[in-house]
């Protein structure tokens, strides 16, 4: 039976949600970290560490829950290096993030070398009763795997946490004015460590999604630059979890269209299609930056990128 246009669109959109999910996790992790004032450019490396760890655990135990948690913890451990170097040792957050990417690429390539080509069974989709029977929307959002549902919960939780709780207010204040927060007795150090490491763990879950859902076999460098798209999306989403969701699915759509167009006989080189998400990222980043420049009150956390030392002018 021929698929109708609407059915085709629904299939593509459902795939967009899947392709967008790891980017969404990455962006959410970045949002938490940057709201507290610490840039994390290491997402590409963290995702690779998360992907490798959860792949190995899934391969040997078969348990998805164990695999995803292991991926999160491994990424969290690697992020603590970034936290140590740029929070306590006051080094450049940018250079430290790049070091994290090199480290993650290296460690996943070295330890994953012997796993190349090994496969695992990918995660199954779960139909949510009632919700999945909503026309169109049900098929796009509610016939997905468990990690996609986890991402919905994460968006809601982080949104609530950042904007409706005391802790969230503290995190955001530290991102804006660490010296003021310090003077009223908040521990800038503790909050920043917590935000960066928890953010890193969420990025790790995004990495896990690559290896146990999207690409259920191990290949070197399987994130292929998509961690960097998440870095850019943090800015595109104006440091907001809700907008992160929108942005991630937009890029998910670009990535899934790329795969769809390769399947149908279209006269565009796959290499051009592979460039497309990166070109789109540059365009999106430019639009977001211009819009941010025009706002009277900047959305970007004011202390972003600066180390905080008590009792010193910086």
């Amino acid at each position: 039976m021929e698929t109708t246009a609407i059915e085709w669109i629904v299939i593509v959109l459902a795939a967009s949600v899947k392709m967008g999910t790891p980017i969404l996790f990455g962006t959410l992790g970045g949002v938490i970290s940057e709201r507290a004032g610490v840039i994390n450019l290491g997402m590409e490396g963290l995702m690779l560490i998360g992907a490798l760890t959860s792949f190995v655990v899934k391969l040997y135990t078969g348990s998805t829950i164990l695999a995803v948690s292991a991926g999160a913890f491994a990424a969290g451990a690697a992020t603590s290096l970034h936290a140590l170097v740029c929070i306590s040792m006051r080094a450049s957050q940018i250079a430290s993030g790049l070091a994290l990417t090199m480290f993650g690429t290296g460690v996943s390539g070295l330890l994953g070398d012997s796993l190349t080509g090994k496969t695992i069974t990918p995660l199954m989709d779960i139909k949510i009763p009632l919700l999945s029977s909503i026309p169109v929307i049900g098929k796009i959002f509610f016939i997905q795997d468990a990690l996609v549902y986890l991402s919905y919960i994460s968006v809601a939780t982080i949104w609530y946490l950042l904007f409706y709780t005391r802790v969230g207010l503290n995190i955001r204040s530290i991102g804006e004015a660490p010296a003021v927060c310090d003077s009223i007795g908040l521990s800038v150090l503790k909050y920043r460590y917590a935000a960066v490491i928890i953010g890193g763990m969420i990025v790790g879950v995004g990495g896990a999604y690559f290896s146990i859902v999207l690409t259920p076999f191990w290949v070197d460098n399987l994130t292929a630059g998509r961690g960097w798209i998440a870095v850019a999306l943090v800015i595109f989403a104006f440091w907001h979890p809700g907008k992160a969701m929108f942005g991630a699915y937009l890029f998910g759509a670009a990535l899934s269209l790329q795969l769809r167009l390769q399947l149908i006989d279209i006269n565009i080189s796959p290499y051009f299609l592979a460039m497309f998400p990166f070109i789109l990222t540059i365009v999106a980043l430019t639009i977001a930056t211009i819009r941010n420049n025009k706002k009277r009150i900047a959305v970007m956390p004011a202390s972003l990128g600066e180390a905080f030392f008590r009792g010193e002018k910086h």
């Binding site: 080094a91 994290l100 480290f103 070295l110 292929a224 960097w228 980043l285």
Partner: protein, 354 residues
């Protein structure tokens, strides 16, 4: 309870700085050793083997200097941008595009086999490198779009573009389906330095570094760069056209990386293929950081990072380790050098409190 805090050093010197960096590198090699041990390689014998291979004979040192050439160029490329607080993370992409433009010249005009071929390839490659960074430079200068992200994303576009050509119209029909172009005409080969097995790209690298050094320290242009780099507001008041200068500096930075691409192409590979750059652009960032963006420091630190590269290649051949090991070591080295920087300005103070 033990309370650890930093206390500002009253006295800090170049000597303290250097000793701390050396300690950081030793620390990095030990940490890297743990990873080697984890995959069943004895780190101490591995380091010993690498050193004796490299310094034990003429070929080892030649190989080292050969690897140093692109690293000096990407190092000075990143360092020049860093002088203005700009980031060129896209040197890899500029290498690819530089090599790509030079290849086009070689494939189009290669038949003539004349003396103008090589200079034409250089001009094409340098121009391509400069143009490849133009979009990020323009966006940075006019809208302050994050240059780290844009220059980096351009790498992925460049690599896909080169793949498109290599798997398409540029593939050598006699290559047994490997994604490589045909070998270039002999006129497209970079001359060698007399008596040693090393192309003149090495000398070009040193020359470019000296040129940038004198430009930065002795010219009006250098003064402008330093003013904008150190105090952007002062630059506005003194009437320097900051936007123009940002674009110019980034394009020079891109041109130098493009030059590295042509040198790798004409000095080493003699045809376009994948992996023209093994992440030399990213290594340039470490070189810049280790030398604190000082041009002359770039020479020394390019030597050190070349040691890591050649060491990694030796381990690849001897122990069958993947190329990723080089990135792992680079990450660890950059982490520990970054972490150690604080000790040049501060002392650790450990207090016991009841």
């Amino acid at each position: 309870m033990i309370h650890i805090s930093f206390e500002k050093r009253i006295y800090s010197s170049g000597f303290i700085r250097m000793s701390i960096t050396i300690c950081a590198i030793i620390f990095a090699l030990l940490t890297g050793g743990v990873f080697l041990y984890a995959i069943g390689v004895n780190p101490f014998s591995a380091y010993f083997n690498v050193c004796s291979q490299i310094f034990g004979n003429k070929w080892g040192i030649e190989d080292l200097l050969l690897k140093m050439s692109p690293l000096m160029l990407t190092g000075i490329s990143v360092a020049l941008a860093a002088k203005m607080r700009l980031w060129n993370i896209g040197a890899d992409g500029q290498i690819y595009m530089g090599a790509c433009a030079a290849t086009w010249v070689a494939l189009t005009f290669g038949g003539s086999n004349n003396l103008t071929l090589l200079p034409m390839m250089f001009v094409a490659g340098i121009t391509a490198g400069a143009l490849w960074i133009f979009i990020p430079a323009f966006l940075k200068a006019h809208f302050n779009v994050n240059d780290i992200i844009t220059t980096l994303l351009m790498n992925y576009i460049a690599i896909n573009w080169v793949d498109y050509l290599l798997f398409g119209s540029w593939r050598d029909p006699n290559s047994l389906n490997f994604p490589i172009t045909a070998l270039f005409a002999p006129a497209a080969t970079l001359p060698m330095i007399k008596n040693i097995n090393l192309h003149i790209g090495f000398l070009i690298g040193i020359f470019i570094i000296l040129l940038i050094y004198f430009l930065l320290s002795k010219s009006r242009f250098g003064i402008y760069v330093n003013i904008v780099g150190n105090n952007p507001n002062a630059a506005e008041y003194s009437g320097i056209n900051k936007k123009k200068l940002i674009i110019l500096i980034m394009m020079i930075s891109g041109a130098i990386a493009g030059l590295a691409g042509v040198i790798e192409l004409t000095g080493v590979h003699h045809r376009l293929q994948q992996n023209i750059s093994l992440g030399y652009g990213y290594t340039g960032i470490i070189v810049t950081w280790l030398s604190r963006a000082h041009p002359l420091g770039v020479i020394f630190n390019a030597f050190f990072m070349a040691l890591v590269f050649v060491g990694g290649e030796i381990m690849q051949m001897k122990a069958g380790l993947p190329v990723a090991m080089i990135y792992l070591f680079q990450g660890i080295i950059l982490f520990s050098v970054l972490g150690s920087d604080v000790f040049a300005e501060y002392k650790l103070k450990i207090k016991r409190t009841a």
